[in-house]
């Protein structure tokens, strides 16, 4: 920086400082915007963390036991005693069992045929029938996996009690980073990033649209603020507030949901900061293109929805068709999710994080440049 520019730079920083202060005050002193900013994200974190879980619990189960033997009762007990199932009905005929599935009263019917104990005692492999409601495919699949493990367990126990030596090989599964496969460990860090994105987009998209509606924007434009100063002054408050929220949600995740924090907090903050740059500049682009708060809000949601769906937050990107996978590379949320989950669950190596950081930074710088260009064009 050469000397004649320094006072100019100082002046610019001072101007931005006043704008930032004004933005914070504007958001903070408005009771409604204050409530809207703080309360919903926290409520949503709690609601969604419990609602959006992949764990399957309390599956309503109907048992149609045609074989009244000790063995069949043992098997049934293995199911009904499990936390996964709730013993809901005991149909006495097959049509009755079918009806229970049809009406959605139960999700699964376990049918033990009459020859179960006979076959078992004679050393054969008896057959049992399990019918699941395929209308809920995801749950059905997970339930079937549970069924398998229960039956495996049943045969192992039985083999032990009979003193059989030749035990079948046992598959030991171990999930790294999340040994109990607790969904919330997976959901909460992702949800934190997603909610942060929603807040940042809304604050930035609404900020200029609101000024246009109130008529304060023109007054702002006649000041010596240059377009880029205006943009920086608008980005900082939105980014800082949203990041603050994001970190608060993180603390809640650790403290309330018991999510481990294994990685470097600095990495988390850096990731969020770069993420904020791209999200808020996109919000400001929306703001520059719209003239009312309503338009800005709708446009904001049109941006947020695809970003969330195409981020890998709930459904893995690897399962998406190739052309959609290509699109996801433009989505900043995609990268920050990896960093967030990595830092929380894994102690992610810096190099891996860096690989996620740079594309996000490129997106951020590009959208910020677009926003400035739009400002100049729309404004002048």
């Amino acid at each position: 920086m050469n000397t004649p520019d320094q006072p100019r730079l100082r002046e610019a920083i001072a101007r931005i400082g006043f704008l930032v202060r004004r933005e914070f005050l504007t958001i903070w002193r408005d009771k409604r915007s204050r409530t809207v900013l703080i309360l919903p994200p926290i409520l949503q974190l709690f609601m969604f963390s419990y609602a959006a879980t992949f764990d399957v619990n309390n599956v309503p189960l109907a048992v149609f036991n045609e074989d009244s033997s000790v063995e069949s009762r043992d098997l049934v007990a293995n199911f009904t005693a499990s936390r996964t199932f709730t013993d809901t009905a005991r149909p006495t005929s097959w049509p009755e069992a079918q009806d229970l599935i049809d009406r959605g009263k139960v999700l699964m019917v376990l049918r033990v045929p009459t020859n179960f104990s006979r076959e078992l005692k004679s050393g054969h492999s008896p057959e049992i029938q399990v019918v699941v409601d395929g209308r809920q495919s995801n749950t059905a699949l997970i339930t079937l996996a549970y069924v398998n493990s229960i039956i495996e367990e049943f045969s192992r126990e039985r083999a032990q009690t009979l003193g059989q030596r030749a035990q079948p090989p046992v598959l030991v599964q171990r999930a790294w980073f999340n040994p109990n496969m607790t969904s919330q460990w997976f959901i909460v860090p992702g949800l934190g990033a997603t909610l942060t994105m929603i807040i940042a987009t809304l604050i930035s998209a609404l900020s200029i649209a609101r000024e246009k509606e109130l008529g304060t924007f023109e007054q702002l434009l006649v000041t010596p603020l240059r377009p880029y100063e205006l943009l920086i002054g608008k980005i900082i408050p939105a980014a800082v507030l949203a990041m603050g929220e994001g970190l608060l949600l993180g603390v809640l995740g650790i403290w309330f949901f018991g999510v481990p924090l294994r990685g470097d907090v600095a990495m988390l903050v850096l990731g969020l900061a770069v993420f904020m740059l791209s999200v808020t500049s996109c919000g400001l682009m929306i703001s520059a293109l719209t003239s009312t708060q309503q338009q800005a809000q709708i446009a904001g949601f049109c941006y947020i929805m695809p970003c969330v769906i195409l981020s890998g937050f709930t459904t893995p990107i690897e399962n998406m068709p190739a052309w959609i996978q290509a699109i996801t590379y433009l989505n900043p949320l995609r990268y920050v999710l990896v960093i967030n989950r990595g830092v929380f669950l894994q102690d992610m190596p810096a190099l891996v994080a860096l690989n996620q950081l740079w594309p996000m930074a490129v997106i951020g710088v590009f959208t910020a440049a677009c926003a400035i260009a739009l400002f100049r064009r729309r404004v002048l």
Binding site: A14, L25, V222, P224, V379
Partner: protein
Amino acid sequence: MPAGLRFTSITRSFKTEARSVAALAGVSGEIAPGKITGLVGPDGAGKTTLIRVLAGLLDADAGRVQSTGELAHPRMAYMPQKFGLYEDLTVQENMTLYADLHGLDPALRAQRFSELNRFTSLGPFANWLAGNLSGGMKQKLGLACTLIVAPDILLLDEPSVGVDPVSRRELWSMVRALQGSGIAVLWSTAYLDEADGCDHVILLYDGRVIDEGLPSVISGHVARRTWRVVLPTDQRAGRKRDLQRAAATLPNVVDAQIKGRNLRIVTDRDDVPPDVTRASMPGLRALKPEPTPPQFEDAYLAAMRKQDLINESQINRRPGIYSQDPGAITQAVHLALDLGDKPQDDGLSSRAARHTNQTLATPVIETKDLSRRFGNFTAVDRFSFAVSRGEIFGLLGPNGAGKSTTFKMLCGLVVPSSGEALVAGFDLATARADARSRIGYMAQKFAYIGHLTLAQNMEFAGGVYGLARAALTHRIAEVAAEFDLEAYLHQNCGELPLGIKQRMALACAVLHKPAILFLDEPTSGVDPVTRREFWARLNAMADDGTTILVTSHFLDEAEYCDRMAIIYHGRQIAAGSPDEIKSAHADGDNPTLEQAFIRLIDDHDRTNGVRSAA
């Protein structure tokens, strides 16, 4: 069938967070059939509250509204300040919508629409989007929609705010035409020249009726207290204002105002002329006051002042309005602008001195063939003018004439299509931001964040122009004192009355001591007292060398300008001092600017075909 309304002892208060404010404190009166009743009062007097109570939209805390005449339930129509036109629907669609809402029989519609179109002369614009109409045409369409089903009683809430003089004249003749059918009309306004057009006037102030009757009777109350002084014709405008200011500060003078070539003075006692012998200016001492017939405005001011004195003797004094006389304002401005000496008492103001000492050849604002086109539409067409330092220059014209576009080009908000503009020595094509830092800008609409306090808004307004912390704090205190805003510093500015908001907007615009002030319709919708006080401040600033550019379609305001340009359809159709324009474009002994303005526009339309809507 004739019907009217009588209202008795209406009270109504509103609760804000901290306290309860009485908007109406026992208001009684009558709206008679076949007459236009004027509800006249400054902002915040309670006009809108009263109309809403009469329209049945608001319950009064106490009091009664009765219908007079033969109808038990007269049909009432109400046009609010901002009428609910659908801007994305055409003129015809808006009228059809209101016909549907009122359940007008489809068989009767065609006839009613053509009647109303004849009445409003909006027929040719039936397929225009309502949002593309000028302010005056919107009001006419609003009135037509209000009149879809012919009412017995018509309540109009400030119908002429934001309407140019030509449209205003048309609006009045429309309402006059309704009288034949015996409709009772209530017309509320803050503009005093409209009171003379009413058959009966109710003067509302601070929630009370302070006078009522025929306009001529009300004016008669000050019949023997109004005087005029004929000003020497060869005077500069600045000199005229010096005389006016000196006259306003005389001990027995209630009000002094320049009206064309005259200085009108109202004194505080019958038959006692203004005591010019005690004037500080020798120029004023030499002039002879003579009695002149009273005008409505004189009576209004006298009535309001009397009410203030009554209020003052009680406890709840309304702050702000008269807390500073124009002379005091001048002194405060001198101190606050840090320009050294107070106004000199030798009769030659600092401004006059500046005018003689400085070469007027270097203008502060200068445009050459400035043009702006939007697609095929030329908003501003080769406009050239120059304003020198310390001058007050007015850009006048009806709505949509190109005032705002010119203004925005000079502020750097709109890029000119061709031509040049120099502001404070900076070329707007190359040094927009530098030019902007020398400008103070006051938007037409209140442009500060409502839930921030006055102090917080001022901090931003000054800080963003480069005032450092310490200087800023000092400067805010200084300006707040100068503008008498200290009491409001820590209030949310959204809750302040309009007059205070407007004073605050000016205060924010001058925090950084700009060389140039741009004011866009600064006193639109503001009552005459507040307007006068506002202009006293502007005059003092101009005296200290601030160059002021004002847009307005309000011609009373134009009288305060040193020079002005009248623009119409993007072109300058006249330029000069108010006196020059009046004598060139209007007849009569003491012509008004409004006469000149309407004549100019009529002439222009005659030579250029019909008046277009834009």
